[in-house]
């Protein structure tokens, strides 16, 4: 295993220092960039620095952060910054770790972002299941408040930056930014019809930016080291560092912070210790449960937003799930479909009805009741529900299913023919 790939920025000090303590964080230079932003720079200066870094959103869509900020109407009096910490994408566990290990870095990032967009009240929406993370964040916010970094008159500048923590109640759909805003307002967690987009009409009807935890956490470092420091790492249009959650059939699952542009092979074999002895690589989901499976021929694809998309999948939230030859892809597909079908908010037709249809069909196949036409029907149903939905959840149903059904159709056919489950080493 080569450790040279691993370049800790956000993850620096985790496991060595108690970064949950504000004093420890400050010894590492913490809150200095927030002070600098608020005291020395204008919001536009901060936004320019962010723009210069080419930072792209780390939550899933990879949208350029500076551009997202620029959509806010110039004349809006009230604006909101909302940090999305509802990390629920199957396979993703980076924000969870950052929340529990380095809460101050997140607070500082959020406040810098809030300052840059001219907002004086920021929110963090924490996934309901992250109870410990919530408690840590709550304590950290109190420490920051006591230190005068948030609240009224921060750093004696006369400026106000309020901060509210909100816990979700356990719905995947609340990670979708407008579902999150509804939930934050106390409504049903359902995505909103767009347009209007949150930048125009977001939280409580006001212009709002929703950014991911990791995205905002990079801001203090981009401020400290300058935008070029970030921009020159990795591919030009997809630069910087990324915390990648690697799980599945690898020897050392975990979070690895690497420069974008590292190959998938390097991530699996050099960072995560490769497959277990004697096992064969069968595929990898590069960007969480919503992403299509990539296979052996894709191992040397550069792990960055554009290259992974070009390879037919997506980088998503940066969650790699590795499959070896013990994988039953019918069960794997079923597990994910059941998840998406269960998490559908139920508002729009294709996702609500289509997901459930595929789930029921896979259930029957697994129970030994499959018929020959099932494979085509599943493929067709998954395909025809894609691209017709109100939000991205529905469009997450097809990619993995379609990719593995195409590659490993024999596994599906084997169930239908009621031959013994062909999992271990059966794929040819």
């Amino acid at each position: 295993m080569s450790t040279t790939l691993i370049t800790p920025v956000l993850t620096k000090g985790i496991g060595e220092l108690n970064l949950r303590e504000i004093a420890v964080y400050r010894e590492q230079g913490g809150y200095e960039q927030l002070r600098r932003a608020v005291v020395e720079l204008s919001p536009k200066d901060v936004a320019d620095i962010c723009n210069g870094s080419n930072l792209r959103g780390r939550g899933g869509a990879g949208f350029p952060t500076g551009r997202k900020w620029s959509f806010l109407p110039k004349d809006a009096k009230t604006r909101y910054m909302v940090c999305n910490c509802d990390e629920a994408e199957p396979g993703t566990f980076k924000d969870h770790m950052l929340l529990e290990e380095t809460p101050h870095q997140i607070i500082e990032g959020i406040l810098i972002g809030a300052y840059a967009i001219g907002c004086d009240h920021a929110y963090i929406y924490i996934r309901g299941e992250f109870k410990r993370g919530y408690e840590i964040m709550r304590d950290a916010v109190q420490q920051a408040r006591d230190a005068g970094f948030l609240g009224e008159n921060i750093f004696g500048s006369g400026k106000k930056l309020e901060f509210t923590i909100h816990r979700g109640a356990g719905a995947y759909i609340c990670g979708e930014e407008t579902g999150l805003l509804n939930s934050l307002e106390g409504k049903r967690g359902e995505p909103r019809l767009k347009p209007p987009f949150p930048a125009i009409k977001g939280l409580y009807g006001e212009p709002t930016v929703v950014n991911n935890v990791e995205t905002l956490a990079y801001l203090p470092y981009i401020m400290r080291n300058g935008p070029e420091w970030f921009a020159k790492v990795g591919p030009e249009r997809s630069p910087g560092y990324k915390v990648v959650s690697i799980s599945g059939h690898v020897v050392k699952p975990g979070n690895y912070e690497v420069p974008l542009g590292t190959t998938i092979r390097q991530l699996i074999y050099d960072c995560a210790g490769g497959l277990r002895p004697g096992r064969t690589f069968m595929g990898v989901q590069p960007g969480g449960g919503s992403s299509a499976c990539l296979f052996e021929e894709h191992l040397d694809v550069s792990y960055d937003f554009d290259s992974v998309t070009k390879a037919g999948s997506m980088l998503g939230s940066g969650a790699m799930v590795v499959f070896d030859d013990t994988t039953d892809f019918v069960k794997a597909a079923y597990t994910l479909i059941r998840f998406f079908s269960h998490e559908s908010c139920g508002q729009c037709t294709p996702c609500r009805e289509g997901g459930h249809w595929i789930q029921k069909t896979l259930e029957r196949i697994l129970a030994g009741g499959g018929v020959d036409s099932d494979v085509d029907v599943i493929k067709s149903a998954a395909h025809q529900l894609t691209g017709l939905n109100l939000c991205a959840l529905g469009d997450s149903i097809e990619p993995f299913l379609a990719s593995v059904i195409t590659r490993y159709e024999d596994q599906f056919r084997a169930y239908i023919k009621r031959t013994p489950a062909p999992a271990v080493g059966a794929a040819s």
Partner: protein, 754 residues
């Protein structure tokens, strides 16, 4: 889900945009939604969740279209037109998309069309014919769900049929703002529900059955009763209140089965109906309808034939004229008649010199105190002031305009005096002149004032601020008539002129032996006149009382002669709404054999009395002319509602209104018995504490005239003034007017017996 409100204000649409839809060039106002733009060239884009009054929701996804330059199919309901946009509503790709959505809808939708009320008028059925497949590709069983969920007193939900378009939920959020419906659970289990344990109670529930694009929401009164192709439809105006909503009446076998809103009726109903207008139709076919004239002989009713009845009526009038002159004759009513009938009644009596005419049973002033501002003007007001009983109970569909004004324009609602407006929007309730002045503020914008037309003690002082409005302020005044056609009856002459007596004065004169004949035309003063004892005494003391009605009402019981007449579903003519518009009333069913319209009776009576009435072809022009002409003199009734504190620890009474009260058409409609208002005693929390009463307690109300109303239910409500109790008017079993004109009452808790 946020409330998306459709914008149809023509003023904002000055600029036009040119686009192409299926190769046809279309020019529509900027800001138009694609789905609306397509309608201008009669291109049908299917929709389920979209509705022009509710706006886009983007849920059903059936309205897919292809737009050049956009990689994905787009939903037409949430796409705003743009210059140069090229749209394709029918091509293989769009058809594939719609087929896909239809397939998803039909996966779990039951195939019970043959027994579904919506069959034949179902959007899912129609589009399934257009884009659906003949068979399902899903071989697993459909999800089964409850088929008859009782949502409340009026609505039943079939969960299997529901396609979760959420039109009902959005109606309840956006239009009524009552927010009692919502979606529950998620994913494929998502279902329409009410807040846990609470029934769906609203005065507008019927609208959701019409909005429902499938047969999921059905009304208890129409469920399983007919199929659309067997119904015969007539379009008329609702005569339940003075809003005059345009309304379809569906009849089968001479039975009125249901009434439906008219979607194009933007001017009056805004395409909604209230539940009274929609559901109160069962009385038409009630077996207790009177079908023969009844004469009281020795205290018992005897059926007589029409000729004898009319002869008797004419004779009595002639005799009265000969013995004492026209002052000894009076007529009450007209507000429940058609314009033409009211005109005939007034004309006939005036031709005989009779001036004792009044259509007002309660106590109203002139409806003409209202301006000619129309219903739509109300939704454009910035400040809305209500005075008196709430419009939501007197003119329910008009109240939806208030809610719309608040939702859409941020209008402010102020209620002044004893009553809150109760409109499901934020409201400022004021009880002092200074409070009203403050609430109106310096910049009221356009002002609308809605008044129930009843004077009350302290009223002029309370509303003094209305005189201090900035000079240029536009003030639209609405006076809500106490009867559906009150404005018409007033304009057409059913008010006293000169020395003529109003209703109350007629009863007093009758009691003193000064009246010989009193004709009551479609009115029920014994239940509605504020002093029941006076009304009863007056009727008892009058030698000859004629009552025309459908039923043997509380008033008819006091008559010497009762004449059975047609309901508004059984005759044609016009009625006048609260804004002074003349609206058509079109009969939809034949009256029971032996029943005549009030108009017919008056013609027969005139003939017997030698009075020449206007000919039918003159009537309409005369009606239209008179309705636009304010009455010559004031003729303000002496009645002033008391607001002074009751003596000695007793409570003063505030008369509440509710749409489901009354003695005639409501009391004789058993199909909606569950909707009849339960009499309540609303009191302030402080009053409740002082009397050791809690919300829901049963109480008796003892009046200072010795009358007691039994078994009312306590409602604790901070909007009621301390020292007062609000009691429902017009409830047959607990008639408020039995307590007298300005009663002081005591509440007695009903002991719970073991």
């Amino acid at each position: 889900m946020s409330a998306a409100v459709p914008q149809t204000d023509p003023a904002s649409h000055a600029e036009l945009v040119t686009l192409s839809i299926d190769g046809v060039e279309v020019r529509v106002p900027k800001g138009t939604l694609l789905v609306e733009a397509a309608k201008t060239i009669h291109t049908d884009i299917p929709v389920y969740c979209y509705h022009e009054k509710l706006g886009p929701a983007g849920l059903c996804r059936i309205c897919l279209v292809e737009i050049d330059g956009m990689p994905k199919l787009q939903i037409a309901c949430n796409t705003v037109v743009a210059d140069g946009m090229k749209v394709h509503t029918r091509n293989p790709r769009v058809d594939d998309g719609r087929r896909a959505i239809l397939e998803f809808f039909l996966l779990n939708h039951p195939l019970d069309c043959p027994i579904c009320d919506k069959g034949g008028e179902c959007d899912l059925q129609d589009y399934a014919m257009a884009w659906g497949s003949g068979s399902s590709r899903m071989i697993d069983p459909k999800t089964s769900k409850p088929k008859a969920v009782d949502l409340g007193p009026t609505i039943v939900l079939d969960e299997e049929r529901c396609i979760v378009c959420q039109r009902c939920v959005r109606f309840d959020q956006i239009i009524t703002r009552e927010e009692s419906l919502r979606t529950e659970d998620r994913a494929v289990q998502t279902i329409i529900a009410t807040a846990t344990g609470k029934p769906y109670v609203s005065d507008f529930t019927g609208n959701v059955t019409e909005l429902c694009p499938v047969g999921a929401l059905t009304s208890k009164t129409y469920r399983f009763r007919s199929r659309p192709w067997d119904n015969h439809r007539t379009t008329t105006s609702c005569t339940q209140c003075s809003v005059g909503c345009r309304m379809h009446v569906d009849e089968r076998g001479n039975t009125v089965l249901r009434t439906m809103s008219v979607p194009e009726d933007d001017a009056l109903s805004d395409s909604w109906l209230c539940d009274r207008g929609r559901y109160n139709v069962g009385f038409v076919n009630d077996e207790r309808r009177l079908t023969m004239p009844l004469l009281k002989q020795d205290g018992a009713w005897v059926q007589i034939d029409w000729a004898d009845a009319l002869d008797l009526w004419a004779e009595k009038i002639k005799a009265a004229l000969a013995a004492g002159g026209p002052e000894r004759i009076g007529a009450i009513g007209g507000g429940r008649l058609l314009n033409e009938e009211a005109l005939l009644a007034a004309h006939l009596h005036r031709a005989l010199g009779v001036e004792n005419l009044d259509h007002r049973i309660g106590t109203q002033t002139l409806v003409h105190h209202g301006s000619f501002a129309n219903h739509v003007d109300l939704e454009n007001a910035n400040t809305i002031i209500t005075l008196g009983r709430p419009p939501s109970q007197l003119a329910p569909v008009l109240d939806l305009r208030i809610r719309k004004a608040v939702s859409r324009n941020g209008a402010r609602l102020i209620s002044a005096g004893d009553y809150a407006a109760d409109s499901f929007v934020p409201e400022t309730h004021v009880t002092t002149p200074a409070g009203l002045k403050d609430a109106i503020g310096a910049n009221p914008g356009r002002v609308a004032m809605i008044w129930d037309g009843v004077f009350f003690e302290g009223g002029p002082e309370l509303t003094a601020a209305m005189h201090d409005l900035p000079a240029a302020t536009r003030v639209d005044r609405y006076v809500l008539p106490e009867t559906p056609n009150g404005r018409g009856a007033e304009a057409l002459g059913m008010i006293p002129r000169g020395a003529g007596l109003g209703t109350g004065a007629m009863f007093a004169a009758a009691r003193d032996g000064k009246l010989d004949v009193l004709s009551i035309l479609g009115a029920n003063p014994v239940l509605r006149y504020p002093d029941r004892a006076l009304a009863e005494d007056g009727l008892r003391a009058t030698p000859f009382v004629v009552v025309t009605d459908l039923f043997l009402t509380e008033t008819a019981e006091f008559a010497n002669l009762v004449l059975p007449v047609c309901s508004a579903f059984e005759k044609s003519g016009t009625t006048t709404d609260l804004a002074g518009d003349v609206l058509p009333v079109v009969g939809s069913v034949r009256p029971p054999d032996g029943v005549l319209a009030d108009g017919d009776l008056l013609v027969e009576l005139a003939e017997r009395l030698g009075v020449t009435l206007p000919m039918p072809d003159e009537l309409e022009a005369k009606v239209r002319e008179l309705v636009k002409t304010p009455p010559a003199d004031g003729a303000v009734p002496a009645y002033v509602r008391a607001t002074a504190a009751a003596p000695g620890g007793a409570l003063r009474v505030i008369a509440d209104a509710a749409i489901f009260t009354g003695g005639g058409t409501l009391a004789f409609d058993t199909a909606i018995r569950e909707l009849h208002a339960r009499p309540h005693a609303r009191i302030n929390p402080a009053t409740a504490r002082a009397l050791a009463l809690a919300d829901g307690d049963p109480v008796n109300v003892a009046g200072d005239n010795g009358t007691t109303l039994y078994d009312l239910v306590v409602r604790v409500d901070e909007r009621v003034a301390e020292g007062a109790v609000a009691l429902l008017d017009g409830v047959v079993r607990a008639p408020l007017n039995a307590l007298g004109r300005a009663p002081a009452v005591r509440l007695e808790k009903v002991p719970v017996t073991a």
